[in-house]
């Protein structure tokens, strides 16, 4: 029987991991993802899963252990945040380049310095070029659901790429929310058996991993990763559809919320989408044509689909919860690329918010829509790029 429970985002991810029952989990906990590993270690200690839990000495080692275990043929997972993900950096590229379908829960947190434990997306956004599929979640339920879908996506024969499930630190990781946990057997039937494409332990069919690859083949291997990313898009759609049929919650590459006839649209990622929906409903009641496009899959990025979804919009505000120093925010850049060929092209501008956990309240979101209304009426954008709720702004 599915179970309705009030559980934290971290707790939900740990439950998903228990149901996935990986062969190996590397453990080096870091705030705010710590509870995932704590809970999962409890499941291991209680004999609820027969996972080999490897306590390592750093995140670099955690990812190295994951890569080795995955190359040996195992289903492999870990969880991390912020500086932990940053310390994995070198090995993230190795995992992707070696095409290991490792699954990581990234509990989004701001990177140091200054030291901060709260949410922003600087950690996973920084890893956007590493060759990992990235799927984002608005709430606990979606974080859990994305994790349940992750093995079938990452391990698909046409994909074979590592995958990050990203959820907002504290806001989701530490909040309990009413959600539905699915039944173990049904989840396990949905996920299916793990099938290693090559195993280092298969001595009858020996293979080499991580070999030197210079100008003779390196670029072909990188092209192959791009092809795998392109393949991931229909696979994500297919797995999401199967998930919807099985469990009743439907997901697409992104969520269109009251978007069809929306003139003023906000594009955003993760938990802020909840606040945006709340304000959009209020504004709709007041007759305002406003809507939301919520990114779910950031890598591979669904350019054409987003362009189609925004075709009726007149002005688009892109909210980035991370910043690229000396450049526009990563989501804004992608939305600009999506819309370059659009005719007519909506007005577009960028707002950065929430770095290090700075709140964006419902009134702030109202102000944001008020601003887009003014820009639309005046036919010009005053500031293409700006920070919200910041001193000296």
């Amino acid at each position: 029987m599915p179970e309705t429970r009030a559980i934290t985002g971290n707790g939900a991810i740990a439950e998903a991991m228990r149901q996935i029952a990986p062969d190996v989990v590397a453990a080096f906990p870091i705030t705010p993802s710590t509870q995932i590993i704590e809970d999962f270690a409890g499941f291991v200690a209680d004999g609820k899963v027969d996972t080999e839990l490897i306590t390592v000495e750093s995140e670099h080692s955690a990812m190295s252990a994951c890569i080795g275990a995955s190359a040996a043929g195992g289903r492999v997972m870990t969880a991390t945040s912020a500086n932990g993900l940053a310390l994995m950096w070198e090995m993230l590229y190795v995992a992707a380049g070696m095409r290991q379908p490792i699954l990581v829960a990234v509990v989004n947190r701001a990177l140091s310095a200054p030291i901060n434990i709260h949410c922003d997306h600087g950690d996973s956004m920084g890893a956007r070029d590493a060759g990992w599929i990235q799927i984002y979640a608005e709430n606990n339920q979606q974080a859990y659901d994305n994790m349940i879908m992750a093995p079938a996506i990452a391990g698909h024969a046409d994909v074979r790429l590592p995958l990050m499930v990203c959820l907002d630190g504290f806001i989701i990781s530490h909040s309990i929310e009413t959600m539905q946990l699915e039944e173990d057997r049904q989840v396990q039937a949905f996920i299916g058996e793990h099938k290693a494409f090559h195993s280092l332990l298969d001595t009858a069919n020996p293979s080499s991993w991580g070999a030197l690859d210079l100008h003779d083949y390196y670029i072909e291997h990188k092209k192959a990763q791009q092809v795998a990313m392109a393949n991931a898009k229909p696979v994500i759609e297919e797995v999401s559809e199967r998930f919807g049929k099985e469990f009743g919650r439907r997901y697409e590459l992104f969520e269109s919320y009251r978007l069809d006839d929306a003139e003023r649209v906000v594009v955003a990622i993760n938990s802020v989408a909840g606040e945006l929906k709340e304000v959009i409903d209020e504004l709709r009641d007041e007759g305002e044509k406003v809507g939301l496009l919520k990114i779910r899959v950031f890598r591979p990025f669904p350019y054409a689909e987003i362009a189609a979804a925004l075709k009726n919009s007149k002005i688009v505000t892109v909210l980035d919860r991370s910043t690229s120093m000396g450049a526009y925010g990563p989501l804004f850049v992608e939305i600009c690329s999506s819309l370059y060929d659009a005719n007519p092209r909506p007005m577009l501008y960028s707002r950065t918010f929430g770095l290090g956990g700075r709140e964006l309240l419902l009134d702030d979101i109202r102000d944001l829509f008020e601003e887009s209304k003014r820009y639309l009426n005046e036919g010009k954008i005053e500031k293409t790029s700006d920070f919200l709720n910041v001193r000296g702004g």
Binding site: A6, S175, I176, E177, T178, K277
Partner: protein, 191 residues
């Protein structure tokens, strides 16, 4: 129940304020409502002021922002009175539930409240009596049920709390916490 029923807890690090907010939400969830509960984490230090929030609703809760206009304010530590933010955003009928040995009228005056109902409960003495130390949560939950029977009745709270505590506590402590809830409920004074 209007769209969201919102509770704001004020306590100090180490008193179990966050656990209290979460346990209350779990109990209310058990009655069939949608809930969310979350802390307002700063640096995690024993003794530092801590806030935690609950939202209850008949439908799915989408927002994650801190509670700004609480329906109920739960004050776990009276040494916070006079400090910033306890009465912030309170409306005319916001209910205050306060862990204190003082009487309700005196507490109301201390908080400079006028129209707002105040419920006091000596949760620390209940806690010392039962646990020989200061863990006021369960008594506070009982006082909440007394102040807000439309959200959760004492019977429902006890039934749900038994299940919740059974997951995390040994059997004798489950019993004592249930006792603390009942004492908290019974020993409430109002003004």
């Amino acid at each position: 129940m209007s769209k969201y029923f919102e509770v704001r807890w004020h306590g100090r690090g180490g008193q179990g304020t966050v656990t209290g907010a979460k346990s209350l939400a779990e109990a209310v969830q058990g009655t069939g409502k949608c809930v969310s509960a979350f802390p307002d984490y700063g640096p995690e230090r024993r003794g530092a002021p801590v806030r935690a929030f609950d939202r209850f609703s008949d439908s799915r809760i989408r927002i994650h922002t801190p509670v700004l206009s609480p329906d109920v304010v739960m004050i776990v530590d009276t040494t916070l009175i006079g400090g910033k933010g306890l009465v912030e955003g309170a409306g005319e009928s916001t209910i205050f539930v306060v862990n204190t040995e003082r009487n309700a009228a005196e507490t109301k005056e201390l908080l400079s409240l006028t129209t707002q109902p105040v419920y006091t409960v000596p949760a620390n003495s209940i806690s010392y009596r039962l646990f020989k130390r200061e863990i006021p949560n369960s008594a506070m939950m009982g006082a909440f049920a007394r102040a807000c029977p439309e959200v959760i009745s004492l019977e429902a709270l006890v039934a749900e709390a038994e299940k919740i505590f059974a997951h995390i506590l040994a059997a004798d402590l489950v019993g004592k916490n249930i006792e603390a809830i009942k004492c908290g409920y019974d020993e409430v004074q109002t003004a």
